[in-house]
Subunit: 388 residues, 2 copies
């Protein structure tokens, strides 16, 4: 991690270089630290000059930070309008995307404007898809206000919306010009969302860095207590891991699949819960199940599922499939996922904590339904006490 020397209130900077197939101009910085939003006007003037800025956020975040951010920008002489939408994943859809686009068109936003996504992953994905498709693309700045958005969704260029057919099935790649993670905004985040965000950080350790995994496992109190230094270390290292993977493979044909660890089952469980489980909660369950699948196949070192289960439990995250979730329904939902190639369901599986299996060379391992079903049953709530 490079320590920034220019913006004194920002403690960490990670430079993200999208794939070798992308031009160098697509490189961008992720700046992390307390009071980060205070630096926004200066950073915009330097890095993302525009005639107008569309500040997009959901109504919850808008009521907490919208006036503050817009005020900072206006005081610095920038032209900004606020565009709010109703909070919640249910609103990350084509209708709200259309509505935001139409409101910007009505306000005569031109090509020389830019989009700021202030909020969590839903806002980043939705506002990012607005930016990607408004007049075929406006510059995008991510201002994540959740752990999950800071360490995951704001980095990597994925934008999109959900459809009745599934999550994130419609979207586009658009690299942000800047990601600015103000760790102070996490103070207003519900604790369940803090925990859920940490599940993705645990995933980063699990797929790429055992030492990082163990540091997280040993820092439960610091992290749940929002210790500033611990947060900066966590976000910085997670972004480094994600950026390293994404930089090597922006379009998900290979290495990027390692980031899907926990997500094939996790997305299915999340859909099956009708989104009553948070994304990170579903992914926590997904990691345990997929580690069990890996152990059953002999791909993953014995004991890995248990170590992941212990760590997630220490953070108060769920590790068992809800008892009333039918296994066949879960499996059907894995097949609707984007990761289903030509009818087979591919998983990203670990070899061990910190090491993803290269699989057949593209980090995807085809898993038969029987093995997946058995792991799901073993990880079911109630069943867990029996099997352990």
């Amino acid at each position: 991690m490079q320590h920034s020397n220019t913006p004194p209130v920002l403690n960490a900077r990670v430079t993200v270089s999208p794939t070798s197939a992308e031009p160098e101009s697509h490189r961008y910085d992720v700046l992390i630290g307390p009071r980060g939003l205070d630096e926004l006007p200066r950073l915009l003037k330097d890095l993302v000059p525009a005639s107008r800025y569309a500040l997009i956020s959901d109504r919850n975040v808008a009521s907490l930070y919208g006036a503050h951010v817009a005020g900072l920008m206006a005081d610095a002489g920038l032209v900004v309008d606020r565009f709010d939408f109703p909070a919640g994943e249910a609103n990350k859809n084509r209708e709200v995307w259309s509505d935001l686009s139409d409101r910007m068109l009505d306000a005569r936003y031109g090509r020389d404007s830019a989009v700021l996504a202030l909020g969590g992953g839903v806002t980043g994905d939705l506002a990012g898809f607005v930016a990607a498709t408004y007049m075929r693309g406006l510059p995008l700045v991510q201002l994540p206000t959740t752990v999950l958005a800071m360490i995951d969704s704001s980095v990597g260029g994925k934008t999109g919306v959900d459809t009745p057919g599934g999550k994130n099935l419609i979207g586009a790649f658009l690299q942000p010009r800047l990601v600015l993670a103000d760790t102070d905004t996490l103070r207003t985040l519900p604790e369940a969302e803090i925990r859920a965000g940490l599940a993705e950080a645990i995933k980063h350790g699990a797929i790429a860095d055992r030492d990082y995994f163990e540091w997280i496992a040993g820092s439960v109190e610091l992290l749940l207590g929002l210790d500033p230094a611990a947060l900066v270390r966590l976000i910085g290292r997670s972004v480094e891991i994600k950026a390293g993977v994404v930089g090597a493979d922006e379009r998900e044909h290979g290495l990027r699949k390692t980031l899907n660890f926990g997500h094939t089952i996790g997305h299915a469980i999340e859909a099956q819960s009708r989104f009553s489980l948070l994304h990170g909660e579903a992914i926590a369950i997904g990691m345990v199940v997929e580690a069990e699948i890996g152990e059953a196949l002999g791909v993953t070192a014995s004991g890995t599922a248990e170590r992941i289960r212990q760590t997630l439990t220490a953070f108060g995250l769920p590790v068992a499939v809800p008892a009333d979730f039918a296994t066949t329904a879960t499996l059907d939902l894995t097949r609707a996922d984007k990761k289903a190639r030509a009818g087979r369901v591919e998983y990203a599986l670990l070899e061990d904590i910190g090491v993803t299996s290269p699989g057949t060379g593209a980090y995807g391992i085809a898993v038969d339904d029987e093995t997946a079903a058995e792991a799901l049953v073993r990880c079911r709530r109630g069943a867990a006490e029996v099997s352990r």
Copy 2:
């Protein structure tokens, strides 16, 4: 123009290299000639291998060529499904885009599939936007069946849909993997659409190549008679010009603006006609008005508007603003255009036939409303006889 040596029935090949900012892998060929569709299965296998192909076309083109193309593909062992939508620019919207995407999702199209756009500009833009946004991007093949699509909309990577706020305001850049222009498909095209397509070819001559302009002007009978050799020459040279401009500047920040000659006024007139004028017809009028604007400003050589007017008239294209079109309404519509930057309306103006004015260095010249209004009035139907 390189003459192809492998596919014997295709007479011309133009290789398009999107901007230096794009990776080389985005390079693609435009193949032009009679019986081109017969080569499609072989070309797909070589250049765009996929587990399934979504063949998207409007119902008119589907009824003419859908079964034929799908049959050729199936005979060659390719998996293809046909997705039709109601014909017409009015259907190039977000609702039809959603519907096509949902039908592909219902049919379980995965990331290892590809989209074929068989039809005119509406189909290319709409199916292209489906491809650009389906699971964040599928490979796209353009199979243009109109002059306009062959020489213009299928090349350059622009995809998108219209909104109540204007044309092409929502969209994305996606370079096709292949463009295959079967000139035989033009035999079923209404003559008005042939003429309208030729308006864009005349524009290509006007902005970049005087000799080409004069060759078109001297080839009225050959071109309207669909002489195969003349068509291949026309499409090939127009694609070369467009590709040359696009390759130098994919994102329209500079040179690409030269392609907008005739389009600032043209798009406004097209909208004002509520799309009863074909795009090429509106652009024909737009070129005359914008040449008049250029002459009034002293940017464009005297006599240029008249030469363009003569040439368009020889092809049976309109050259006068309809008498009942209010000038203020036309001007208001130019401001809604994407090309309005920070409230000013910029035009791409000629210096002479074959030469675009570099303007302030970015091929955009700010024109005041009074000058534009005077030119519109001068070019009005009825007024023309008086002023000339």
